[in-house]
Amino acid sequence: MNEAVMNELAEPTMKNKSGPETEESLNIEYTETVGQPFCDDAKIKTKNVNVFYADNQAIYDVSLDIGAHEVIALIGPSGCGKSTYLRTLNRMNDTIDICRVEGQILLDGENIYRKKQDPVLLRARVGMVFQKPNPFPKSIYDNVAYGPRIHGLTKNKAELDELVEASLTKAGLFQEVKDRLHAPGTGLSGGQQQRLCIARTIAVQPEVILMDEPASALDPIATAKIEELINELKENFTIVIVTHSMQQAARVSQRTAYFHMGRLIEVGDTDQIFTNPSHELTEKYITGRFG
């Protein structure tokens, strides 16, 4: 498993180094991140984060605040490190032996990479939705109930039933599946599966939800539903979403961060980034000159 993930994450980085667009961009002198990487009521503060896969550095010195109850979109060309950065936020990178993280990542002021931090507890607070819908090969009910069960969030069956229903309702899936809660979750359509995965994540009642290109495997209608859902979820959760689609970033997020070659180039209000980017690279990317 580790190798597969590692390749998925690390390979594009290395490819990019020899890619045609990088020769040009390598000449550009990297400056400090432009825009407003910091905010007042930060839920997560990252300071000077560097990530290495063995000897390859994937993330260079990224400092970024993620505000409470905001949706922040991470955009950038393939292999720019946005997925890697996302995975450092709930320590999913721990599963990769050769991955090393330097710098500080503070969740509510506490460093999540400190010795005493339990990664299992962290992941209960910072949930994750993956690129490809990955429901467990179990019933819809069991998919959603799994998290609450292992964490012991409910006292009895009735409470669990209620929580499952509430989570499915929040994910906008309950009406579609209420008659077949005990049918296998893998029998749903792709979009429904992804909403099931979101329901599964919010059933644990995390504070932050990380989404790694949640709609990239879905058709436009299913994508629209997911985006609608993200808009509703931001009332209760802080959401960090990695996306390849700039339209999607524009539709769902309040702030946007642009990554390039492992560096955080520009952060700003989404409107400003897409209408009036400050950095040359950001402008090139959003006008489609590479990516």
Binding site: M92, F130, Y146, I150, V204
Partner: protein, 424 residues
């Protein structure tokens, strides 16, 4: 000449190659099926006679005087009474013309050595039979059975025939009187091994195999699955683990007799475990089966999509929970298939068990794991090695039984794989 023509030209050649490849594949499969059919018909043809037993019905006078017992005799007296005498008398009465000592001795070989035990058991079951005359069907000797079943050709000249004219005449006279009949050979499934082919049964070997495999399964399945999970999911990636992995693969290729030697040296000589016992056989076979199951389990675990592990970890499941709640159930069909294939391999294994003394001639049917016993393939080996004509059919019958268990185990493997297979 344009491209279309060039393609057309090469097309014929390509199609010819494809047809030839298909034909070769078909021929090889057909050959394999043909040989399988030849093998099976040969074995089944030879084995079928083993499933009938030949009996000789005799009027025996169970007089108390001759037996030296009466209805009130104690059990041990009944057990030790002289039953041979009354059976011999019954035979002599049938053929009064036989008078010389030599001929009489020949006459008495018509019934099996087991006939007197048969009579003894009948009287021990029901002592009321004493002082009556009963018509009892006694097991016939294997030569008689061979003649009746046609395994010995009656038309051969006497010099080439194992059963001489005199004996053949007796058999034919019994046949015309309707005193010879054939019944289904239940004894084959209820007796242990015997020196007499007509009495030899396979139950001892079946139970021996069962006990041995029980030990093998109980030891190798949990150890192998635990090892596979550890190596696949928890072990750090370093030289030492690589070394262990290489050695597991090497172990799978070690000749099985080496494991037998190891069992002899370590378990029997050093730990003083009982010789010829299923428990030692099971331990030795589990050493042999471990690599098979580990390798199968590891590839099954490796085949579980990483997204499933990530999903569990992302929800806050611990590593252990993600493995036991999600990875293991998903890998179970592959693990079970590997286990049953390993077990089937162990069932057919002979060489290592020879080394630990399971090749001994054992009449008693084993009741526990520490009693001497033998196993099915060794029973085949022992019978194939015996000179008596009757063991030929027993050998084939034992092979059939062994094949039956192998097919049954593979069928279970397929069933389990289908049952636990989940789609995602």
């Amino acid at each position: 000449m344009n491209n279309t023509d060039l393609v057309k030209q090469s097309l014929q050649k390509r199609y010819l190659k494809e047809r030839m490849f298909k034909a070769m594949g078909f021929i090889s499969i057909a050959t394999a099926i043909l040989f399988l059919l030849i093998l099976l018909t040969d074995i089944i043809g030879k084995a079928l006679p083993a499933f009938t037993q030949t009996n000789i019905a005799l009027e025996v006078k169970l007089s108390a005087d001759d037996l030296g017992i009466n209805a009130n005799s104690s059990e041990s007296e009944i057990r030790n009474a002289d039953y041979r005498k009354v059976i011999r008398e019954a035979l002599s009465r049938l053929f009064p013309e036989v008078t010389s000592r030599k001929d009489k001795r020949e006459l008495y070989t018509l019934t099996s050595m087991g006939a007197e035990f048969q009579l003894r058991d009948a009287i021990m079951d029901n002592p009321q039979l004493i002082d009556t005359t009963q018509r009892i069907e006694f097991l016939a000797d294997d030569d008689v059975a061979a003649v009746v079943k046609g395994a010995i050709d009656r038309n051969l000249p006497e010099s080439d025939r194992r059963v001489k004219n005199q004996k053949l005449a007796w058999i034919e006279s019994l046949e015309t009187k309707g005193q010879i009949n054939s019944t289904f050979n239940w004894q084959f499934f209820s007796n242990g091994d015997s020196r007499e082919p007509e009495m030899a049964g396979i139950k001892g070997a079946i139970l021996g195999s069962f006990f041995t495999l029980l030990v093998t399964l109980a030891l190798s399945f949990p150890i192998a699955v635990a090892a596979a999970i550890y190596l696949e999911e928890f072990a750090p990636k370093n030289r030492f683990i690589d070394f262990i992995e290489i050695n597991i693969n090497n172990l799978a290729a070690v000749p099985s007799i080496v494991f037998g030697l190891l069992g002899l040296a370590v378990f029997i000589n050093f730990f003083n475990m009982p010789r010829s016992a299923p428990v030692v056989g099971g331990i030795v076979l589990s050493l042999m089966t471990l690599p098979t199951i580990i390798i199968a389990s590891r590839s099954a675990i490796k085949a579980v999509p990483p997204s499933l592990r990530e999903a569990a970890l992302g929800l806050g499941a611990s590593k252990m929970q993600s493995v036991f709640h999600h990875v293991l159930p998903a890998a179970l069909p592959g693990i079970l298939t590997g286990t049953i294939i390993g077990m089937a391999q162990a069932l057919g294994e002979t060489a290592p068990l020879l080394m630990i003394g399971m090749v001994a001639f054992i009449v008693d049917i084993p009741q526990t794991l520490v009693e001497p016993s033998t196993v099915l393939p060794i029973q085949v080996f022992l019978w194939a090695d015996s000179p008596e004509r009757g063991f030929l059919e027993k050998t084939s019958a034992a092979i059939l039984v062994l094949l039956f268990f192998l097919v049954a185990m593979n069928a279970i493997a397929i069933y389990l794989r289908k049952k636990f297979e989940k789609k995602w």
